[in-house]
Amino acid sequence: MMLRTPVPKRARPIEPAPIIESPPTGSDHHRQLAIYEDPPSADPARREPSHEPLQQSEHMLCTYQCRQMVKADFLDALSNAEKQVQDYQSQLAELSDNFRKADEERKTFREKLSYAEQELAAAKGREQALHDQLLKEVNDSHERLKKELESSAKLQTKLENEQNLRKKAESTAASAEDKARELEAKLGHISQSIEKEKKQLNNELVHLKRDSKFSISKITVDLEKMEFRAQSSEKEVELLRKQQEDLQSKFSQVLSLHIDHDIVKFNRCSPDHLILPDCLFIQDYTMLVFGLWSEKSLRSLSSGKKCLIALCLYCPMDFLFQCLHQKSELEKKLTSLSFEDDSPKESDILVKHLQEELRNYESEVREARKLKSAHENIELIKEKLLEEKSRRERAELQLPKLHEYEFKINELEDELSAWKLMIQDIPGVSCRDDIRLRISALQKEVIDNLKKLGDVNAHLKQMEVILDKTQLDKQKTETEAVLAKEKADRLEAEVKRMNVMLSAVSEERNVLKTAIEDFKSKNEQAGGNASSSIMQIQELGSSILEREPYIKELEGDLFAQKEINAHQRDEIKSLHDRLNSEARRVKSLERENDRLRSEIFLLESKIGHGDFSAANTKVLRMVNTLAVGNDAKQTIEALQSELQRTKEKLQALEEYKSQSGNSGKMVDSYMSGKVAQLKEQIATLEKREERYKTVFADRISVFRRACCELFGYKIVMDERQRPNGIPVTRFTLQSIYAMNDDEKLEFEYESGNTNIVENSYTSTSEISQQVDIFVRKMNSIPAFTANLTVESFNRRTLS
């Protein structure tokens, strides 16, 4: 320690020595001590010789008091310094404790930071994975929604198509009904016409029988006549021969006498110039030329002929030609002349014969006319047969159409069942109209789901933004953690420095203590070394003064560290809050993920249980199922047998035609064959009628059953007659959903008009109201029946 030696004092005037006031006891360490220097006797090297002896005595008193004062002051200063040291020590302890706490907190914060970082990394990974999953699920749901939309659009188009098909089917069914009615009417007409034809044919048969009998009798009569004529002709021939012989003999005689070349010339003229309608006259003419007439032969001739012959015998050629001309004229008159009964017996017989022949010819003409009429009837029958053939062909042509209609009806039934199943599958749908509403509701749900998807996407984006923010925060916290680490390192260094300072201070304190003890010991011993104690005190004070800025720096550092720690704590709290919020978001995302997974599972189950896309797949089933094959086989076999029968009939008719072409040859065989053929024809027509009846009955029953199943009513048709004799068709309808058998509707159909008939069921209040509304006001029986069907169906299902 530097001891400051005061300047040796000069001789003063009689001024008292300055009194150094002792500083008041206290802790004011900023006071400065005025250290009085010992007199020069203490340090002979420094004292001045001139002033020393006078001042020594005064100094001796002063120094003791000063020493006491200084001692007191020093002690006070020591105590203050000790107190300060203690305070500093306590502060150091506090600082060290604070530093320890801060260090521990730093460690805990570090651990928390690392834990938070790990959690952040895990959360980030999870979020990334969730994000990817969500994106995949969103994309899948997008695709599924698109597919569902496409399928719904296709379903809509299918709906529309099937509605159109249904309308077409209804129209075709109505047309089929009309056609069936027409066919029924035609059947009735055909049956009536067949009956009429039967009657006519029977009548014709009867007439033909009578005619045949009559013709047979006539033929027998003709035969007798012919025989008689033959006999008579034979007799005449004999007579004529005799006459001829007589005449020849006479002629030969006359020729030799009278006949000249002119008569020969006349004889050379061909008899063709003469109009000789009768062969008998030709004979007479030849007899005239080659022989003489007998009286009998002359008598047998007509008067005209006789005149001619006479003329020819007794006149020349010119007169012969005139006679021949007259003869021809007379012969023309023969048909109008009546026979003159010159000879009563033979001419009468001849006349009678001729009359009979005329009658025969007349009868034959009548028969021919009758045959003509029969032939015309046959032609009529042929035309009718052709008509029936054409009808049969039409019926056969319509049979496949019936098959087609049945097929279409089956298809419609299948479609209806499919639609019913679809209606059952779609919840909240009870009828066809609800499908549109349900589809619109589904579309709305789809749109809502799309909106939700959009919201989810927005959430996802928000989450991404939050993730970015958290990453930024994480980076910030990392930087802050780095800074905190650096600060902690600095603090450690400072702590080390503080420790070093503490150790130094403690050493100094120890030194001071030892010094104080020495001083105390010294004071106790003599108190002589005041200057050294003063120097020590001065040194302590200077060291304390030197430490004060350090202490101030330490205090400032502590304050800053405290602020930093508080800031870090706030940041950690905020990070904790963010972590909690993100954890909540992660949980919500996981919940959404679970919900989407369940939806995906539902969709997969729907796809797995049999749904298919109509664009790529179609469903086929065998028609020849076990339940249906037998009926179809039976119907097919029945139709085939009918075809064979009709073919046989056709062959029989063709044979009949071929046979009818040769009818003019043999009358007897022709008539009998004709009768047999007509009988066969009638039999075939009857059989055909029966077959048509059975076939149409089957078809009508199938059609009725189909109508019952399609429209929900069993229809029974009756034909009745009113009291005024007008025929009326009555239809009785019973709904398949009727609760009892009394629930029947009755309608009367007359010439295109349908009227409802009141009965016990329609007279009930509910039904009568509906009848008033639908039938009488709106004039729509289908609407009435449809409404009744729906109501009875609802009643049935509810019950």
Binding site: G608, D611, R621, V623, L626
Partner: protein, 211 residues
């Protein structure tokens, strides 16, 4: 048909189609027997796939299944068949009670190019045997069919398939609402892979409805 070589058997498209259609015939018979669609006395025992199999003696059912198999074989050779479904329905109500779904995945390269594949016949038999065993054991979890039932077969084909005379296109796929599904084993001939799945009407819903 498959011809044996030293190690593996060569499988052609026609052979694979025959194997699959034959499998379906035996599977259908097994289902009809196990589900009591037809009485037990109408079935005869034969040996197939290393197991005692039951075939129906009813001529109508026999001819139905034989015609069906012929058509399925044709479609399989053309690569047009996607699925075959055997449907069991109630005779009275027509309600679908069970659907035995056989979905088929075809190797289009074989169909287009006519190449063949190699797989052991024994391996295929083993796989089919496993399915037959599962069909037989299905009575343990399938609900009892107390009422008289009938069956029908649906074929899911490509849309460009010409519909044969004895078949018709059906818009009704005969689905079951809210079914229970059980997936069975599958077998693979390397040309056709057949997956089997049975879906049935949930019996618990009926019990809940009754309650």
């Amino acid at each position: 048909m498959a011809s044996k070589t030293a190690a593996k058997d060569i499988i052609t498209l026609r052979g694979s189609a025959a194997i699959v259609s034959e499998f379906f015939g035996y599977a259908a018979n097994s289902i009809l027997y196990n589900r009591a669609v037809y009485p037990e006395e109408s079935f005869a025992r034969v040996k197939k796939y290393g197991l005692p199999m039951l075939l129906t003696k009813d001529e109508g059912v026999k001819s139905f299944i034989s015609n069906l198999n012929a058509q399925l074989s044709e479609w399989l050779e053309a690569g047009k068949l996607q699925r075959v479904v055997l449907v069991i329905m109630s005779m009275n109500t027509g309600e679908v009670l069970e659907r035995w779904n056989f979905s088929i995945e075809t190797d289009n390269e074989v169909v287009e190019k006519g190449v063949s594949r190699e797989k052991s016949d024994k391996e295929i038999m083993r796989e089919i045997q496993a399915i037959m065993r599962q069909i037989a054991s299905s009575i343990t979890y399938l609900p009892c069919l107390d009422e008289q039932c009938v069956f029908d077969v649906l074929a899911y084909t490509d849309t460009d398939v010409a519909v044969p005379f004895t078949w018709m296109e059906s818009s009704d796929a005969k689905l079951i609402a809210n079914p229970q599904m059980v997936k069975l084993h599958s077998f693979d001939t390397k040309i056709h892979k057949v997956n089997t799945l049975v879906s049935y009407k949930n019996d618990e819903e009926e019990l809940d409805d009754e309650e």
